[in-house]
C-alpha cells in the first residue's frame, strides 16, 4: 500500500467513525434529555422541590415544546419564563422587526437590536439566559396555509398575537391539530387570559362565533399600553403553560381572568363549558378546514398596523410639501390638529391649534374656532386639519363641512395627507414619530 492509498483509507475510516460518533452523541443527547443532568438539578432545584413540579415535572418540561406566536409585549415575558424554567424547545413566530417604540414593554429586545428580526433578537436573548434551550425561529406571517405544519411540531401553543385575524387562525389551527391554546391579550391598562381547547374546554370561536367589527378593536399603537400590563399577562401565560406541561389539575380553562391595572384588580369569570352548537371544535379534525380567507371574515388585516382611509376627494387634500409651500409663501391659514390633547402635548407644529376630533361636534368649540377664523382681519383664511397619520384629519374635514358658519368664513378646508408622520418623513426629520 502506498502512502496515498493509506491516507484515503484512513480518511474513509475516520468518516465512518465520525458517523458512529455523531450517532452516539445524538443518542446521549436524547438519553440526557429524558433525565436530568447534575447541572439541571442544580439549575432548576428551586422549582424541582415544589410538589407541583418534582423530578417528573422537570423532565416533562425538558422534553416539552411550546410555540409562541408574537414576540411582542406578551411573547417576551412568556418566553423568558419558559426558557428559564427549562422548557426544552421554544418556537417563536413573528414576521416583524424590532422598533424603538416596542422597547418599553418588549423586554427581550435590546436597544442595540432595533431593526433586527424579532425572532432573531428573541432567540439571541433567550439563549443568553439559557443556552440549553432549543429556540426555533419561524420568521413568517401566520396564515391558514402555513399554520398547521408549524403547530404540529409543538405540545402547547401560546397566543401572544396582537390582532383578531391571527387569533381566529391560531384557534382554528389548535382545534384541528388538537393542541391546547394559552391565550392572552393586553391593551391600555387591561389584560385578559384564558386557556382554550384544553381537556374538552370551549374554543375561542365558541365565545366569539362572529368577529367583532374592526371599529371596536383597539390596538396598542393607537390606544397605548403600559409595559407591565402585557408583562403580567405574559408571565401568567407562562405559568398556565407550565401547569399544562406538568399536567397540573387546576389549569385555567373554562374561565376568563381579567386584570385591571388601574385598580389593581383581578376578576375570574366562569365561562360556559358547553361547546357552541356547530362550532368548529365539535367537528372531526379531518373535517376542519382552516384555509378560509380570515382577513375577509374579520374585515380587517392580520396585523395591528395602520390602515389608510380615503374618505376625501383628491382636491380636498394637500401634501406635506404643499403645506410647506403655503408656510413659506405666508399664505394665511388656520391649522387644526385634531389629535388627543396628550398627543398634541407630546409634539405639534408650532402654528397649529388643538381641537380633538370629537370636540368638533360641540357648538361651544365651534364658536371659539370661528373667533379664531375671524381674527384673520380682512383676509379669508384657509382651514387645514392634521392628525398623526391622515385618517382623523379627513374625518375632521367631513365634520367641519357640515357647518355653514365655518365653510362661509374660509376659502377652503383641506387635510394633510399622511399627517405629522409624513411631515417628519419628508419635511422635518427632527419632528418626533410615534
Amino acid at each position: 500500500m502506498n502512502n496515498d492509498e493509506e491516507i484515503s483509507l484512513l480518511s474513509a475510516e475516520i468518516a465512518l467513525l465520525n458517523v458512529e460518533l455523531n450517532k452516539k452523541y445524538a443518542l446521549l443527547k436524547k438519553k440526557q434529555k429524558q433525565c436530568l443532568t447534575k447541572l439541571d438539578i442544580n439549575r432548576y432545584s428551586r422549582q424541582i422541590i415544589l410538589p407541583e413540579i418534582g423530578v417528573e415535572g422537570q423532565k416533562k418540561l425538558k422534553t416539552a415544546s411550546v410555540l409562541i406566536i408574537g414576540v411582542g409585549g406578551l411573547g417576551c415575558p412568556s418566553s423568558m419564563y419558559l426558557a428559564s424554567a427549562g422548557v426544552g424547545t421554544i418556537g417563536l413566530v413573528d414576521y416583524d422587526e424590532v422598533e424603538l417604540s416596542n422597547l418599553h414593554r418588549q423586554l427581550l429586545h435590546a436597544q442595540c437590536n432595533v431593526g433586527m428580526r424579532k425572532v432573531e433578537s428573541g432567540k439571541l436573548s433567550l439563549n443568553r439566559m439559557n443556552e440549553d434551550v432549543n429556540i426555533v425561529v419561524h420568521d413568517v406571517q401566520l396564515d391558514g396555509h402555513n399554520s398547521l405544519d408549524i403547530f404540529k411540531q409543538y405540545d402547547v401553543i401560546i397566543d401572544a398575537s396582537d390582532n383578531l385575524v391571527t387569533r381566529y387562525i391560531i384557534n382554528d389551527t389548535c382545534v384541528k391539530a388538537g393542541k391546547p391554546l394559552v391565550s392572552g391579550s393586553a391593551i391600555h391598562c387591561d389584560g385578559q387570559l384564558t386557556v382554550y381547547n384544553y381537556k374538552g374546554s370551549v374554543c375561542f370561536r365558541c365565545l366569539h362565533p362572529k368577529p367583532q367589527s374592526p371599529e371596536t378593536v383597539g390596538n396598542c399603537a393607537s390606544v397605548g399600553v403600559l409595559g407591565p400590563v402585557p408583562g403580567v399577562i405574559g408571565v401568567l401565560q407562562a405559568m398556565e403553560t407550565i401547569k399544562i406541561i406538568v399536567d397540573h389539575p387546576n389549569v385555567l380553562h373554562n374561565s376568563l381572568l381579567l386584570y385591571d391595572g388601574v385598580d389593581c384588580e383581578f376578576k375570574k369569570i366562569k365561562l360556559t363549558n358547553v361547546k357552541r352548537n356547530g362550532c368548529i371544535c365539535t367537528k372531526n379534525p379531518e373535517d376542519i378546514t382552516i384555509t378560509m380567507d380570515y382577513e375577509e371574515f374579520c374585515g380587517s388585516k392580520a396585523n395591528d398596523k395602520f390602515k389608510t382611509l380615503n374618505l376625501l376627494k383628491e382636491n380636498e387634500r394637500i401634501t406635506v410639501l404643499d403645506l410647506n409651500e403655503l408656510i413659506s409663501k405666508k399664505n394665511p391659514f388656520l391649522m387644526i390638529d385634531v389629535r388627543k390633547k396628550v398627543e398634541y402635548d407630546m409634539c405639534h407644529l408650532p402654528f397649529s391649534i388643538n381641537i380633538q376630533l370629537s370636540d368638533l361636534k360641540s357648538k361651544d368649540t365651534r364658536s371659539k374656532l370661528i373667533e379664531k377664523i375671524n381674527s384673520f382681519s380682512n383676509m379669508t383664511p384657509n382651514l387645514i386639519t392634521i392628525c398623526r397619520r391622515g385618517n382623523d384629519s379627513q374625518r375632521a374635514v367631513d365634520e367641519l363641512k357640515k357647518y355653514t358658519e365655518i365653510t362661509d368664513n374660509v376659502k377652503w378646508i383641506k387635510d394633510v395627507i399622511g399627517g405629522l408622520h409624513e411631515w417628519s418623513m419628508q419635511v422635518d426629520e427632527n419632528f418626533p414619530i410615534y
Binding site: 411582542g72 409585549g73 398575537s161 396582537d162 366569539h208 367583532q212 376568563l256 385591571d260 369569570i269 366562569k270
Partner: protein, 103 residues
Amino acid sequence: MEKGLNITTEFTSGLQILFNNIKKHKVVLPETENPWTLGMLLFWIKDNILVDKDKCDLFMKGNTVRPGIIVAVNDQDWELLGDLKYCIKNNDNITFISTLHGG
C-alpha cells in the same frame, strides 16, 4: 331603600369609556309588571347610562350586546344562565367585558 331592584353594573376592559369612564354603577331598576331580564337591562342601560347615544353601536347590536362583549352575572358567563332571558335578582352584579386582542 327604594322599591325595585338594586344592582351593580360594571363596565370593564375599556368599555367604561362609553360610560363616562366610570366602571361601577350602582343602579336601581324601577318596579315593572314583568320581571327584569338581561334583555330589558341592555335597553335600560342604553337609555339611562350610555353617555353618547351616537356610540350605541359600540355597545349593542340589534337586541343584544355587540360581538366581542362578554356578559357575566355574579362572575358567571350569562350563557350559563340563559343570556337575554335571565331574570335579574336583587344585588346582582352584572359585568360587561370587552374582549381584548392587543399584545
